[in-house]
């Protein structure tokens, strides 16, 4: 199957994402700086439309040198959150923050002449 052009790089703002449907497949394309990451729009938990969810900052917890909690914080990494049940995944690695074996299926993505192409191997 040839690469499929789904949109333009400039149409996705840094830190944002778009979700495309083509040839019976649904794929979320996420932009982080000048890089793109593409994930199948299928949550490994219950099959929800993961990429149609919202991006949230990963939440961390600040500990003092004495291991006392100093409250919640944002770590700086970004997660896509499934709108069905709240499973969340790092938009750059596709991994669940608490279980690396629970992860999104990646789709090869590339940019040629400002256009975004997806490569479907099956």
């Amino acid at each position: 199957m040839p690469d499929i052009r789904v949109g333009k790089f400039d149409d996705i703002a840094d830190g944002d994402h778009k979700i495309y449907a083509t040839n019976g497949r649904e794929v979320g394309v996420f932009r982080v700086g000048q890089n793109l990451h593409a994930w199948e729009n299928h949550c490994p938990h219950a099959g929800g439309p993961i990429c149609q969810g919202k991006i949230f900052g990963q939440v961390g917890e600040v500990l003092s040198p004495g291991k006392e909690s100093r409250g919640l914080c944002y770590t700086g990494r970004k997660h896509i959150v499934c709108p069905w049940h709240g499973f969340e995944f790092d938009i750059e690695t596709g991994k669940h923050p608490g279980d690396a074996h629970t992860r999104l299926r990646g789709i090869p993505v590339s940019v040629k002449d400002g256009d975004i192409y997806l490569t479907f191997n099956r």
């Binding site: 789904v6 449907a21 019976g24 219950a46 439309p49 919202k54 709108p83």
Partner: protein, 426 residues
């Protein structure tokens, strides 16, 4: 709207989910599994509505003029709060602070006729492939903690009238468990008797979040009436962060994980140890929305203690677990991270005959029918039983002939008789 019917070579952009998204679009991925359920009989034993958007309609059904006027007086306050209700909106964290939009609000467009609630329920049922949904309230799950028993009774009476008399007639696939205002046993009895013969009412619901001992003598007349009705009593659990023990939990996750189980464990324990199953042997009981892992836990705890301290439970003639194995349980939220443990749980509770599928839609931890069909340790007939045929027997629902399954070859009537279910039109 996405457009999956478009030509193969086309590229479409799908929308991001927000509170305005149509239920059918939000659950579009479930539709793929629904198409495989065409010949399954599927009953959702625990679905919900959010009643606050319709609060003015509901309180208008209060029989008592004074309480009705008291509730209505809140309409002109800032934000039109749900008058007389005891919910604490600022601590409802189920939507994970915006991560799960449909738990925040179902703001989608829907026709006002016959009623938006009916349309939202129909959309969910059609998308999930349900034949019936038992439709229950949401914030009222904490109404048992209301300090005024008379207010619980007034709201409960009004909701029951609104749901059964005003809403369900628009959609026969919607069913209901009557809300029992359990802090007022006399009011409970009145509601039981009022709806005992109503076929849209499949049972009676005690919201488990409360501090009432279910074995108190004041409830015996209620149980006698429920037993006589032939409909089951149900215990629908919930959470209460204000509970002294739950206050030790600093995160909603912790409190929610424990609280739903905690209340049903207490009620189950009192129910068994005080011999309610021996006093009312024909009364059927359903335990709702505590998951399933707690059941084998408390079975083992009670059996172990009972065998040593039998003199403290003199009404029992069998081990606690034997009574529990004859009760019914709804499936959601089903713990399925460890399938070996889940399979053991299914065996412990006789899931093949005692488990009822439940979605809990539109709540954040809902389960689709695929939560049952995808379990690798169930055979075809077991899946059919859990998804709907167990409910058909328990609630005396008619089953279309083509949804009986293929496990019982021979005449359709014989297959139905073998499974103990009624066929449509017979």
């Amino acid at each position: 709207m996405d457009d999956r019917a478009a030509p193969q070579s086309a590229v479409f952009e799908l929308p991001k989910v927000d509170v305005m998204m149509d239920t059918r679009d939000l659950l579009a991925h479930a539709k793929k599994d629904t198409e495989k359920l065409q010949d399954y009989f599927v009953v959702d034993a625990d679905g919900h509505i959010s009643e606050f958007p319709f609060w003015q309609d509901i309180i208008s059904r209060m029989d008592n003029d004074v309480y009705r006027d008291m509730a209505r007086s809140f309409k002109d306050r800032p934000g039109s709060p749900p008058g007389l209700h005891n919910a604490v909106p600022g601590m409802l964290y189920q939507d994970m602070f915006g991560r799960i939009p449909h738990q925040q609000r179902q703001g989608e467009d829907a026709p006002a006729q016959p009623h938006k609630m009916v349309t939202l329920t129909q959309r969910a049922m059609d998308t999930m492939g349900l034949d019936y949904m038992v439709v229950l309230p949401t914030p009222m799950l904490v109404l048992g903690m209301h300090p005024q028993a008379e207010i619980e009774a007034a709201i409960g009476q009004a909701f029951n009238a609104w749901m059964v008399e005003d809403m369900i007639p628009h959609e026969p696939r919607m069913k209901n468990f009557i809300y029992l205002p359990f802090n007022d046993p006399d009011a409970c009895l009145k509601e039981v008797e009022k709806y005992a013969a109503n076929p849209a009412v499949l049972g009676y619901m005690v919201t488990s979040t409360r501090y009432r001992a279910v074995h108190h003598d004041a409830y015996m007349k209620v149980y006698a009436a429920i037993e006589a009705s032939g409909k089951p009593i149900t215990f629908h659990s919930g959470f209460h962060w204000g509970d002294e023990s739950m206050k030790q939990c600093n995160r909603f996750l912790s409190m929610h994980a424990i609280s739903f189980v905690y209340f049903n464990i207490i009620h189950m324990t009192n129910w068994i140890v005080n011999g309610i199953p021996e006093r009312f042997p024909k009364m059927k009981v359903i335990w709702i929305e505590s998951g399933l892992a707690w059941v084998p836990f408390i079975m083992q705890r009670l059996d172990s203690e009972y065998m040593m301290r039998t003199s403290e439970a003199p009404l029992l003639k069998r081990k606690p677990s034997e009574y529990m194995r004859e009760m019914y349980y709804t499936s959601q939220p089903m713990e399925r991270d460890n399938l070996e443990l889940l399979e053991s749980t299914f065996k412990a509770i006789n899931a093949e005959t005692q488990l009822l599928y439940a979605s809990d839609w539109p709540h954040w931890d809902f389960d689709l029918p695929s939560s049952i069909t995808q379990l690798p340790f169930l055979n075809e007939q077991q899946k059919r039983n859990i998804l709907g045929l167990n409910a058909a027997k328990l609630f005396n629902l008619e089953v279309p002939k083509h949804k009986l399954g293929k496990a019982n070859p021979g005449p359709v009537g014989a297959a139905a008789a073998a499974q103990g279910v009624r066929l449509v039109g017979e």
